[in-house]
Amino acid sequence: MNPIPPLSLLAQAASPTTWPAVSPGGGSAWMPAAAATAARQADFVFYFIYWVAVFFFVLIVALMVYFAIRYRRRAARERAPGTVSHNTALEITWSAVPLVLVIVMFYLGYRGFLDIVNPPSDALPILVTGQKWVWSFTYPNGHSDTELHVPVDRPVQLTLWSSDVIHSFYVPAFRIKRDAVPGRYNKVWFQATRPGEYLALCAEYCGTQHSDMLARVVVHEPGGYEAWLAEASDPFRTRSYAEVGRLIHQKRCAGCHSVDGSANIGPTFKGLWGRQAAFRDGTAVLADENYIRESILYPQKQVVKGYDPVMPTFQGQLKDREILALIEYIKELEK
């Protein structure tokens, strides 16, 4: 996989983005291409309502324009030729016909909804964590990642929650959306039908980088998912600590911490190693292994001067080896 920093759209807006399209090509005029089973149902309902709406809209506007021209007042004293002020049969008809149509709409929508809330029992379970401003996905083997990888043609059940404010997990190509709410688990499932890369977005407003809370969704050909998971679960097998650290930085840290010296939400990692880190309370400490580890696990303990105390803790999200890998990477930046 080409590792792309999920948070750095803001900082790197000038550079060409390699995010998958929100609306993959090959869709219809109104809908993105469908890449999951739920989409077929949703699109059918959408187009049923669409054509009913188009019919009534054209009818209403055509009559309105026709009447406005046909019965326009030519002289100020002119009176209306018509005098009919009600017609109960007509009025009951135009109440009843829409009533029948909306009941059909309700039923179609209801049927499609049941399909996405009730997962098959053999669905692959993945835990989705929303946190300002990154999605993370925990796979059945315990591996946690910022990308959602799933096998094609297999039901996947997402259990969503949030560790801070409400987020909403949205994959337009799958037509699924579900809020990630702190304090409760929400569930949604899907079955991808087309291998490829899709975009997941946050659809519930969550603050400064709400619009950059994106995630790559990769639908693998048969067999690809298992291979990816094995590789992703143990990046140290084929990489040095510093290389793994670079990957972790890109996935987890790059949204707030640059490595080129530019300022962002948090201080840059460039020039950090071995420097005296100055804090908001006026104290300072040497930026060594212990300082970096503490900053990752207890970010509120000391906050660097000139920055807001906004960093979340990564306790439970980064393993000891991964923290060591990040430390190695930060050291390497000075070489």
Partner: protein, 564 residues
């Protein structure tokens, strides 16, 4: 009436007293007035001022969205602007807009009454509005607010911005302003109708205001207590909504939408009332299906209370609840559809004058057609999941709030402008501005449907480049709309000072407000007029001498023709 008398020509008593604008001068005569007309005018000025502020925020938002990432402001600034735009437009402009400004002015005159039932409560409601507006401005000064106008927890309890509590207090106070207005309207309509005005001779605008007032009184207290709970939660961390303390953030959403969905009908019902008046008067034909329209207002007010859960289909609300709310949501669409069909039937074989107010009424049918029909997509569960929290929703509610409510309000403003000010505006300028606003509205909001259906989420500062062209169309549309509104402001202000004198009844309306002078004297009518059918135009005759219409009661055909 046997010969030409001042009364016949100007429809004004021969011993013309000074009108309500000229009877007293000076600031104090306005600030302490109990005259519903003056209070209505003060409301109008305040609401249009807030509309200007909210509109400037909207233009800043659209300008920022001209390119992805940064165009003119930071993400935090953008978040503040869309929050303030939403909060100001909702609480300060659209909710009070038609009832408090136009309704205040017109309702008692339409009833042939001298004032509302409680003039002091009316003035108090205006001052509560002012306090709410001051708190909103204070919120901007005290560090602004970035929660979105919906104030969802835990975001609203966590954000560090200093304006959150002032803006919540502002909305709380504005709620009382709204309740006072609603209470006043209900009592006035019940107790002060003139002889001859049975419930089914009530002008449809008043049916609409009555239905609105029911919602204002029953729903607004829930918003009040919800906002107080939110403030308490933010300050004292009690654990009502905060999950870390055992609270439930989705409970907040239930409370919030229990008011805020019915509030949508507080916004749209008075607009529909205005359109019912305009379509009938400018078609010179009895409104078609009066009873259906009147009852559809009440039906919308009642059904509107049982649909709030459709804002939470993806929140984790139970499937059973979502199903029920989806079904109930569709119940609201029927009375809305009925109204549209009735308006069309009113136009059929009418005598249609395409004056500016009528153009706004026709624009309303067009825009509400789109706004209403796109609601059908959002009521269906399967499509709602895909479309909710995208630009599709943004487009849908702007077609309803802006394209329908504000368009009807501006139509109503033009319709009653001669009555309020005694002056006519330039019809040519009116038509040009109408065209700009109508085209601008569609250009701004229609591309947003396409974006939303393709997955563009709302409240996005940055956006994928595939949406840039549609965003730019939308931005250009908003500028076009702004030009239309500024032009409207210009010719209305011009009319205020230079406009031709308005006749008592410039459009040929049959409701009672057209039987008193333009502008009306302080107590409207010397004797309570006898009301007939508000849509019977057979006794309204064109009078070429004044360029207006006069009411000539039949049976006295000989005398009436002699007056000409």
């Amino acid at each position: 009436m046997t010969a030409i008398s001042p009364e016949a020509v100007f429809d004004r008593p021969a011993d013309a007293r000074p009108d309500y604008l000229r009877i007293r001068a000076g600031l104090a005569s306005w600030l302490f007035t109990l005259d519903h007309k003056r209070i209505g005018v003060m409301y109008l000025v305040g609401i249009l001022g807030a509309f200007l502020l909210g509109g400037i925020f909207a233009l800043l938002i659209r300008t920022e969205l001209f390119t992805p990432a940064r165009t003119v402001m930071s993400a935090d600034r953008y978040n503040q602007f869309f929050t303030l735009h939403g909060a100001i437009m909702t609480f300060l402009v659209i909710i009070p807009g038609i009832p408090a400004a136009l309704g205040n002015f017109v309702l008692p005159i339409m009833l042939g009454a001298r004032d509302l039932a409680f003039p002091r409560v009316n003035l108090a409601s205006f001052y509560l509005w002012v306090v709410g507006a001051i708190l909103a401005v204070l919120a901007i000064v005290l560090g602004s607010v970035d929660t979105g106008w919906t104030f969802y927890v835990p975001y609203a309890t966590e954000t560090t911005m200093g304006g959150v509590i002032p803006v919540l207090l502002g909305a709380f106070v504005l709620g009382f302003s709204s309740i006072f207005t609603g209470l006043n309207f209900i009592v006035t309509i019940h107790k002060m109708r003139p002889p001859g005005m049975t419930w089914f001779r009530l002008p449809l605008f008043l049916w609409a205001l009555y239905a609105t007032a029911i919602i204002q009184i029953l729903a607004t207290p829930v918003l009040g207590i919800t906002l107080v709970l939110l403030i308490v939660e933010r300050v004292f961390k009690l654990g009502i909504f905060l999950p870390a303390l055992g609270g439930d953030p989705v409970l907040y959403q239930h409370f919030f939408w229990f008011y805020s969905h019915p509030a949508v009908y507080i916004m749209i019902l008075p607009a529909m009332g205005i359109v019912s008046e305009l379509i009938s008067v400018f078609s010179r034909k009895h409104i078609f299906g009066y009873t259906f329209i009147a009852f559809s207002s009440i039906a919308i007010a009642i059904f509107g209370f049982f649909v709030w859960g459709h804002h939470m289909f993806v929140s984790g609300q139970s499937t059973m609840l979502s199903t029920i709310f989806s079904l109930l949501t569709y119940s609201v669409s029927i009375p809305s559809a009925v109204k549209v069909f009735n308006w069309l039937a009113t136009m059929y074989r009418g005598s249609i004058a395409l004056k500016t107010p009528m153009l706004y009424a026709l624009a309303f049918i067009f825009l509400f057609g789109i706004g209403g029909l796109t609601g059908l997509f959002l009521g269906a569960l399967a499509t709602n999941v895909h479309l909710t929290d995208t630009y599709f929703v943004v487009a849908h509610f702007h077609y309803v709030m802006m394209g329908s409510t504000l368009i009807a309000m501006i139509g109503g403003l033009h319709y009653w402008w001669p009555k309020m000010t005694g002056r006519m505006y330039s019809e040519k300028a009116g038509v040009i501005a109408w065209a700009l606003v109508f085209i601008g509205t569609n250009l701004t909001f229609f591309p947003q449907f396409i974006m939303g259906a393709h997955g563009m989420p709302r409240r996005y500062y940055n956006y994928p480049p595939e949406f840039q062209f549609l965003h730019q169309l939308s931005t250009v549309g908003s500028y076009l709309m702004a030009v239309g509104f500024f032009l409207t402001a210009a010719y209305l202000l011009h009319a205020l000072f230079r406009g031709a004198r308005a006749p008592a009844n410039p459009w040929g309306g049959a409701t009672l407000e057209w039987r008193c002078a333009s502008p009306p004297p302080p107590d409207n009518f010397e004797r309570p007029p006898v009301a007939g059918d508000p849509y019977d135009f057979s006794e309204i005759d064109y009078d070429p001498q004044t360029g207006g219409y006069v009411y000539t009661p039949r049976p006295a055909p000989a005398a009436a023709s002699a007056a000409h």
